[in-house]
């Protein structure tokens, strides 16, 4: 096992990794930007390094400074969390050169799954359904030809993409021509890679992803699914497990497909295989594999009772998985709401300020993953996630009642948040009945979704 872990992240996930490390008896090294020097994860860590000024490009994304901190501290592993450098082959390479274990997959698996077109080909070969789509599209003509065969709507996506950036929906040839260059330049500026591809777009499909864990001894398991259909502009807002639309047979089949995809990638560690699921036909299609621990991982932890971050660290240290597929049991129902510092009244514009008042919910079945405390300053440099509220219950009804109760209790003063937005969303008849899809939220916001 490792002795000391450097946590190359900030906010709630840095704290989450710190907690897992400490439970495993490991020493922790926190890194931080100048504006984060008083953060909770910094104060709780055994050692700390300031790695740069506020902007992430100069601090949390500064590979030489992170590696220097790890080397000086004598860390034997780096946990990248999510976002920032979590899917950076460059960091992984440099870690390998400096005898540091990157807590994540190997370089080849990361590269393969990071290239969305190659990932599609790889899973296609092992019988995992993929949406009709293209390899890299270099010109408008090529895109229009594909549309001629498969029809609209279509999705333009960045080959190096993720997080909703570089994604555009085209409903007709005009859209396609208009979005083609926008998507390319967005992909170029967001990922430094302007390659894009086309995929058939299913507007009423659900986003269902499978949590997988693989070790370096050839064991691969899945920990059930998360339904992340509640999204706004491809950003997930609410995630739950299990999904109301999957029966046991469907779950087994998709779970096995996720395992095949994971094996085909030669993957180890924690990962997520994302599918689009068409509830009408029961068909499912591979979207992509995320080669990191995800924001919504607590949902799976609550229903399986497995600590994914600890398991991820153990597996990276070369230990075999601590459980078999048969031992993984889904217990009850869990739901997560992402509470962001955003103003839903103003198009979800980021809301900055100092938290002067704070009450976090608790009680039966409630877990809150957050780095918030009184006096915390929401900075313009980083994403707007303030807290993840997770509710667990015997069934969906109990989990949702607990969530509603928790959101009523929660108080965050000083910035605008999405707490009330979540309560209204959870209260809609569509959500209660589980009749949601990936474009539901946008339709609901614009007032076109039928209310119960």
């Amino acid at each position: 096992m490792f002795k000391k872990i450097l946590i190359a992240n900030r906010g709630e996930i840095a704290l989450r990794i710190l907690r897992a490390s400490r439970e495993l008896g490991l020493r922790t090294v926190a890194v931080h930007s100048e504006v984060d020097r008083d953060s909770l994860h910094v104060r709780l860590a055994d050692e700390t390094f300031c790695v740069g000024p506020g902007p992430a490009t100069q601090s949390y994304l500064n590979i030489p400074n992170l590696i220097a901190a790890a080397t000086i501290a004598g860390a034997d592993a780096i946990h990248p969390g999510y976002g920032f450098l979590a899917e950076s082959p460059r960091l992984l390479e440099v870690c390998n050169q400096h005898d540091l274990t990157f807590i994540g997959p190997g370089l080849e698996a990361m590269r393969l799954m990071g290239d969305k077109a190659r990932a599609r080909q790889t899973v296609d070969r092992v019988g995992v359904p993929v949406l009709p789509g293209t390899d890299e599209v270099t010109g408008e003509k090529e895109a229009l030809d594909f549309a001629g065969v498969h029809g609209y709507p279509l999705m333009l996506k960045a080959a190096a993409g993720g997080g909703g950036k570089g994604m555009r929906v085209a409903h007709g040839p005009e859209d396609l021509e208009r979005h083609f260059h926008t998507a390319r330049s967005e992909a170029q500026s967001a990922f430094g890679d302007g390659r894009i591809y086309l995929e058939k777009f299913l507007p009423r499909a659900r986003h269902i992803e499978f949590q997988v864990m693989a070790d370096s001894h050839g064991h691969v398991v899945h920990l059930g699914e998360r339904d992340c259909s509640v999204q706004r502009r491809h950003q997930k807002l609410i995630e739950e497990s299990p999904s109301v639309v999957l029966g046991p047979e469907q779950r087994r089949e998709m779970g096995e497909a996720a395992i095949r995809a994971t094996r085909a990638a030669g993957y180890s560690g924690a990962g997520t295989v994302e599918f689009l699921f068409d509830p009408d036909s029961g068909a499912y299609y591979f979207l992509e594999m995320n080669t990191r621990i995800q924001v919504e991982h607590p949902v799976s932890e609550m229903v399986t009772g497995i600590d994914l971050v600890k398991e991820q660290i153990r597996v990276a240290a070369g230990h075999p998985l601590g459980f078999s597929q048969e031992e993984i049991q889904i217990q009850g129902h869990a739901v997560e709401c992402r509470i962001n510092a955003e103003d839903p009244e103003k198009g979800f514009a980021p809301s900055l300020g100092t938290i002067h008042d704070l009450h976090l919910p608790g009680g039966p079945g409630i877990r809150v993953d957050t780095h918030l405390e009184r006096g915390y300053v929401v900075q313009p440099f980083y994403d707007s996630l303030l807290a993840k509220v997770i509710a667990h219950g015997r069934d969906r009804e109990e989990a949702l009642a607990r969530m509603d109760r928790a959101l009523q209790e929660m108080q965050v003063g000083g910035v605008r948040t999405t707490i009330d937005f979540h309560r209204r969303l959870l209260g809609t008849g569509d959500f209660r009945r589980g009749e949601i899809h990936t474009t539901f939220v946008e339709a609901w916001i614009s007032g076109s979704a039928p209310e119960a």
Partner: protein
């Protein structure tokens, strides 16, 4: 704002309070002929749970004597030339604006640290070969 602050120390405390209350990283001011930089301090190695935190204001006051030259990266500080070993900026030395005062070694690369202005080295706050973090005060420069 007619408050008459005659003692520089008093003035520094007032400014330090502003620095702390506004959560600023840095504050520049002039007193007579001299220019000062107040900088919120660094913290390292916090034992848990006995963490109390170094007071950034106290650290900023320490740097009040002159201009603080800080590290621009994480690495190991070298006060001597990595090639020849000559120490360009020992205590008492006069350095020109843009003059090399130290090197920071990061992933095997030695990056020069240059003085933002001319002055004489009043104090060196790091030892040869010591690890430093971003923003750490390396040395303090007095008016040239």
């Amino acid at each position: 704002m007619e408050k008459d602050i005659t003692r520089p120390e008093e003035e520094a405390r007032v400014l330090a309070r502003i620095l702390r209350e506004e959560g600023l990283a840095e504050l520049e001011f002039e007193a007579g002929q001299e220019r000062f930089v107040l900088r919120a301090g660094r913290r390292r190695e916090h034992p848990v749970p006995a963490w109390t935190g170094a007071d950034p204001v106290e650290e900023a006051l320490e740097a009040l004597e002159g201009l603080a030259i800080t590290s621009t990266r994480v690495g190991v500080v070298h006060l001597g030339d990595p090639q020849g070993g000559a120490v360009p900026a020992p205590v008492g030395a006069t350095v020109p604006q843009g003059g090399i005062v130290a090197w920071i070694e990061t992933m095997g690369v030695h990056q020069e640290v240059r003085s933002p202005q001319a002055g004489s080295v009043l104090e060196i706050l790091v030892a040869e070969g010591e690890p430093v973090e971003y923003g750490q005060v390396l040395m303090v420069l007095g008016g040239g």
